[in-house]
Protein backbone atom coordinates (compact mmCIF):
# COMPACT_ATOMS: atom_id res chain seq x y z
CA UNK A 1 0.00 0.00 0.00
CA UNK A 2 1.28 3.48 -0.90
CA UNK A 3 0.92 5.48 2.29
CA UNK A 4 1.72 8.82 0.64
CA UNK A 5 -1.13 8.15 -1.78
CA UNK A 6 -3.41 7.35 1.16
CA UNK A 7 -2.45 10.59 2.94
CA UNK A 8 -3.12 12.54 -0.25
CA UNK A 9 -6.50 10.89 -0.50
CA UNK A 10 -7.31 11.68 3.14
CA UNK A 11 -6.34 15.31 2.62
CA UNK A 12 -8.46 15.62 -0.54
CA UNK A 13 -11.38 14.00 1.24
CA UNK A 14 -10.97 16.32 4.24
CA UNK A 15 -10.85 19.42 2.06
CA UNK A 16 -13.96 18.23 0.23
CA UNK A 17 -15.92 17.38 3.39
CA UNK A 18 -14.78 20.39 5.39
CA UNK A 19 -15.14 22.70 2.42
CA UNK A 20 -18.85 21.88 2.35
CA UNK A 21 -19.49 22.21 6.08
CA UNK A 22 -16.98 24.84 7.07
CA UNK A 23 -16.78 27.23 4.12
CA UNK A 24 -16.61 30.17 6.51
CA UNK A 25 -13.57 28.67 8.23
CA UNK A 26 -11.74 27.69 5.05
CA UNK A 27 -8.29 28.99 6.04
CA UNK A 28 -8.58 27.77 9.62
CA UNK A 29 -9.77 24.37 8.38
CA UNK A 30 -6.74 24.05 6.09
CA UNK A 31 -4.42 24.87 8.99
CA UNK A 32 -6.14 22.27 11.17
CA UNK A 33 -5.90 19.62 8.44
CA UNK A 34 -2.20 20.33 7.84
CA UNK A 35 -1.38 20.36 11.56
CA UNK A 36 -3.26 17.12 12.15
CA UNK A 37 -1.74 15.27 9.21
CA UNK A 38 1.80 16.54 9.71
CA UNK A 39 2.07 15.72 13.40
CA UNK A 40 0.21 12.45 12.98
CA UNK A 41 1.83 11.17 9.79
CA UNK A 42 4.27 8.68 11.33
CA UNK A 43 1.69 7.29 13.74
CA UNK A 44 -1.03 7.03 11.10
CA UNK A 45 1.34 5.12 8.84
CA UNK A 46 2.30 2.68 11.61
CA UNK A 47 -1.32 2.16 12.72
CA UNK A 48 -2.49 1.69 9.14
CA UNK A 49 0.16 -1.00 8.60
CA UNK A 50 -0.89 -2.73 11.84
CA UNK A 51 -4.51 -2.56 10.67
CA UNK A 52 -3.63 -4.11 7.32
CA UNK A 53 -1.67 -6.90 9.03
CA UNK A 54 -4.72 -7.41 11.36
CA UNK A 55 -2.64 -6.79 14.50
CA UNK A 56 -5.06 -3.90 15.16
CA UNK A 57 -8.82 -4.15 14.73
CA UNK A 58 -10.89 -1.35 13.19
CA UNK A 59 -12.06 -0.51 16.74
CA UNK A 60 -8.42 -0.31 17.93
CA UNK A 61 -7.52 1.86 14.96
CA UNK A 62 -10.39 4.23 15.54
CA UNK A 63 -9.52 4.48 19.26
CA UNK A 64 -5.91 5.38 18.44
CA UNK A 65 -6.81 8.01 15.83
CA UNK A 66 -9.16 9.59 18.37
CA UNK A 67 -6.40 9.51 20.98
CA UNK A 68 -4.26 11.45 18.51
CA UNK A 69 -6.97 14.09 18.38
CA UNK A 70 -6.85 14.28 22.19
CA UNK A 71 -3.06 14.70 22.08
CA UNK A 72 -3.53 17.56 19.61
CA UNK A 73 -6.07 19.16 21.94
CA UNK A 74 -3.53 18.88 24.78
CA UNK A 75 -0.90 20.46 22.54
CA UNK A 76 -3.31 23.26 21.68
CA UNK A 77 -4.03 23.82 25.37
CA UNK A 78 -0.33 23.79 26.11
CA UNK A 79 0.50 26.23 23.32
CA UNK A 80 -2.35 28.63 23.20
CA UNK A 81 -4.48 28.48 26.31
CA UNK A 82 -7.86 26.89 26.72
CA UNK A 83 -10.08 29.75 25.67
CA UNK A 84 -8.07 30.91 22.70
CA UNK A 85 -8.85 28.16 20.22
CA UNK A 86 -11.83 26.54 18.68
CA UNK A 87 -11.38 22.85 19.53
CA UNK A 88 -14.66 21.17 18.86
CA UNK A 89 -16.55 20.13 15.78
CA UNK A 90 -13.90 20.73 13.17
CA UNK A 91 -11.48 18.21 14.65
CA UNK A 92 -14.24 15.63 15.15
CA UNK A 93 -15.03 15.92 11.47
CA UNK A 94 -11.33 15.41 10.62
CA UNK A 95 -11.16 12.18 12.68
CA UNK A 96 -14.32 10.77 11.12
CA UNK A 97 -13.08 11.47 7.59
CA UNK A 98 -9.61 9.99 8.26
CA UNK A 99 -11.04 6.75 9.66
CA UNK A 100 -13.67 6.41 6.93
CA UNK A 101 -11.16 7.05 4.15
CA UNK A 102 -8.61 4.58 5.55
CA UNK A 103 -11.23 1.87 6.04
CA UNK A 104 -12.56 2.41 2.52
CA UNK A 105 -9.12 2.33 0.93
CA UNK A 106 -7.26 -0.37 2.86
CA UNK A 107 -9.94 -2.82 3.99
Amino acid sequence: MDFEELLKLIKEELIRVLGESYAEYKEEAKEDIDAFLESSKVKLERWTNLLVSTELTVKDYEWLVKSQKDILVLEALYAAGASKRRLGHLKNKIIKTVVETVIRVVL
Partner: protein, 140 residues
Protein backbone atom coordinates in the same frame (compact mmCIF):
# COMPACT_ATOMS: atom_id res chain seq x y z
CA UNK B 1 -11.36 49.99 33.31
CA UNK B 2 -13.54 46.93 33.78
CA UNK B 3 -12.27 45.62 30.46
CA UNK B 4 -8.66 46.15 31.55
CA UNK B 5 -9.22 44.28 34.79
CA UNK B 6 -10.87 41.38 32.97
CA UNK B 7 -8.07 41.24 30.36
CA UNK B 8 -5.35 41.14 32.99
CA UNK B 9 -7.25 38.51 34.92
CA UNK B 10 -7.49 36.26 31.83
CA UNK B 11 -3.74 36.44 31.28
CA UNK B 12 -2.91 35.20 34.76
CA UNK B 13 -1.46 31.71 35.11
CA UNK B 14 -1.24 29.66 38.25
CA UNK B 15 2.22 29.56 39.82
CA UNK B 16 4.44 26.49 39.58
CA UNK B 17 3.37 23.88 42.07
CA UNK B 18 5.87 21.25 43.21
CA UNK B 19 3.05 19.01 44.45
CA UNK B 20 1.28 19.03 41.05
CA UNK B 21 4.57 18.32 39.29
CA UNK B 22 5.47 15.41 41.57
CA UNK B 23 1.98 13.94 41.45
CA UNK B 24 1.90 14.06 37.64
CA UNK B 25 5.25 12.25 37.45
CA UNK B 26 4.14 9.70 40.02
CA UNK B 27 0.90 9.04 38.08
CA UNK B 28 2.85 8.65 34.85
CA UNK B 29 5.16 6.03 36.36
CA UNK B 30 2.21 4.23 37.99
CA UNK B 31 0.22 4.23 34.71
CA UNK B 32 3.23 3.03 32.74
CA UNK B 33 3.51 -0.04 34.97
CA UNK B 34 -0.23 -0.80 35.05
CA UNK B 35 -0.87 -0.43 31.30
CA UNK B 36 1.72 -3.15 30.62
CA UNK B 37 -0.71 -5.61 32.22
CA UNK B 38 -3.61 -4.78 29.87
CA UNK B 39 -2.89 -7.93 27.86
CA UNK B 40 -4.03 -9.90 30.92
CA UNK B 41 -7.53 -9.89 32.54
CA UNK B 42 -8.67 -6.59 34.07
CA UNK B 43 -10.13 -8.36 37.11
CA UNK B 44 -6.64 -9.53 38.14
CA UNK B 45 -5.55 -5.91 38.60
CA UNK B 46 -8.70 -4.33 39.94
CA UNK B 47 -7.11 -3.06 43.18
CA UNK B 48 -4.18 -1.25 41.57
CA UNK B 49 -6.43 0.17 38.84
CA UNK B 50 -8.89 1.48 41.44
CA UNK B 51 -5.94 3.07 43.26
CA UNK B 52 -4.71 4.70 40.05
CA UNK B 53 -8.17 6.06 39.22
CA UNK B 54 -8.48 7.47 42.73
CA UNK B 55 -5.04 9.15 42.61
CA UNK B 56 -5.91 10.72 39.25
CA UNK B 57 -9.27 11.91 40.56
CA UNK B 58 -7.56 13.51 43.57
CA UNK B 59 -5.13 15.42 41.36
CA UNK B 60 -7.93 16.64 39.06
CA UNK B 61 -9.84 17.88 42.11
CA UNK B 62 -6.71 19.57 43.46
CA UNK B 63 -6.08 21.36 40.14
CA UNK B 64 -9.73 22.38 39.88
CA UNK B 65 -9.54 24.43 43.03
CA UNK B 66 -6.32 26.33 42.28
CA UNK B 67 -6.85 29.90 41.04
CA UNK B 68 -6.03 30.80 37.40
CA UNK B 69 -5.41 27.18 36.59
CA UNK B 70 -7.88 26.47 33.80
CA UNK B 71 -5.32 25.01 31.37
CA UNK B 72 -3.79 22.43 33.74
CA UNK B 73 -7.27 21.53 34.92
CA UNK B 74 -8.54 21.06 31.35
CA UNK B 75 -5.49 18.94 30.43
CA UNK B 76 -6.01 16.62 33.41
CA UNK B 77 -9.73 16.37 32.77
CA UNK B 78 -8.98 15.23 29.24
CA UNK B 79 -6.57 12.60 30.56
CA UNK B 80 -9.11 11.34 33.10
CA UNK B 81 -12.29 11.45 30.98
CA UNK B 82 -13.53 7.89 30.33
CA UNK B 83 -15.32 9.00 27.18
CA UNK B 84 -12.13 10.34 25.59
CA UNK B 85 -9.16 8.33 24.38
CA UNK B 86 -6.36 8.75 26.88
CA UNK B 87 -5.84 7.14 30.33
CA UNK B 88 -9.48 7.20 31.49
CA UNK B 89 -10.74 5.89 28.17
CA UNK B 90 -8.07 3.21 28.04
CA UNK B 91 -8.95 1.88 31.51
CA UNK B 92 -12.64 1.91 30.61
CA UNK B 93 -11.98 -0.09 27.43
CA UNK B 94 -9.79 -2.56 29.31
CA UNK B 95 -12.56 -3.03 31.87
CA UNK B 96 -15.21 -3.51 29.18
CA UNK B 97 -13.17 -5.95 27.09
CA UNK B 98 -11.28 -7.50 30.04
CA UNK B 99 -8.15 -8.03 27.95
CA UNK B 100 -6.53 -6.00 25.15
CA UNK B 101 -4.18 -6.99 22.34
CA UNK B 102 -0.43 -6.49 22.63
CA UNK B 103 -0.23 -4.21 19.58
CA UNK B 104 -3.07 -1.99 20.76
CA UNK B 105 -1.72 -1.80 24.32
CA UNK B 106 1.72 -0.78 23.10
CA UNK B 107 0.39 1.95 20.81
CA UNK B 108 -2.16 3.26 23.33
CA UNK B 109 0.49 3.35 26.05
CA UNK B 110 2.74 5.55 23.87
CA UNK B 111 -0.18 7.96 23.38
CA UNK B 112 -0.95 8.12 27.11
CA UNK B 113 2.71 8.64 28.04
CA UNK B 114 2.89 11.49 25.50
CA UNK B 115 -0.16 13.08 27.14
CA UNK B 116 1.50 12.86 30.57
CA UNK B 117 4.68 14.43 29.17
CA UNK B 118 2.72 17.44 27.91
CA UNK B 119 1.03 17.90 31.29
CA UNK B 120 4.34 17.59 33.17
CA UNK B 121 6.10 19.92 30.74
CA UNK B 122 3.33 22.50 31.10
CA UNK B 123 3.69 22.47 34.90
CA UNK B 124 7.47 22.73 34.66
CA UNK B 125 7.17 25.69 32.25
CA UNK B 126 5.26 27.60 34.92
CA UNK B 127 8.50 27.46 36.91
CA UNK B 128 10.44 29.05 34.06
CA UNK B 129 7.79 31.74 33.61
CA UNK B 130 8.01 32.60 37.28
CA UNK B 131 11.80 32.62 37.13
CA UNK B 132 11.78 34.96 34.11
CA UNK B 133 9.31 37.27 35.83
CA UNK B 134 11.51 37.43 38.94
CA UNK B 135 14.65 38.08 36.86
CA UNK B 136 12.87 40.79 34.87
CA UNK B 137 11.72 42.38 38.10
CA UNK B 138 15.22 42.28 39.61
CA UNK B 139 16.80 43.76 36.46
CA UNK B 140 14.49 46.78 36.54
Amino acid sequence: MTFLVISCQSLKTAVYDQYSYQQAISLKVESDAIIDHATTPFRDHINVITGLRMDLKKLVEYEKNKPNNSISYAMLQLLENEDRNLLGGFLKRWEEEQQLSEAFTKEAKAQIMEAFDLIIKYEAEKNKTNETNILNFLEK
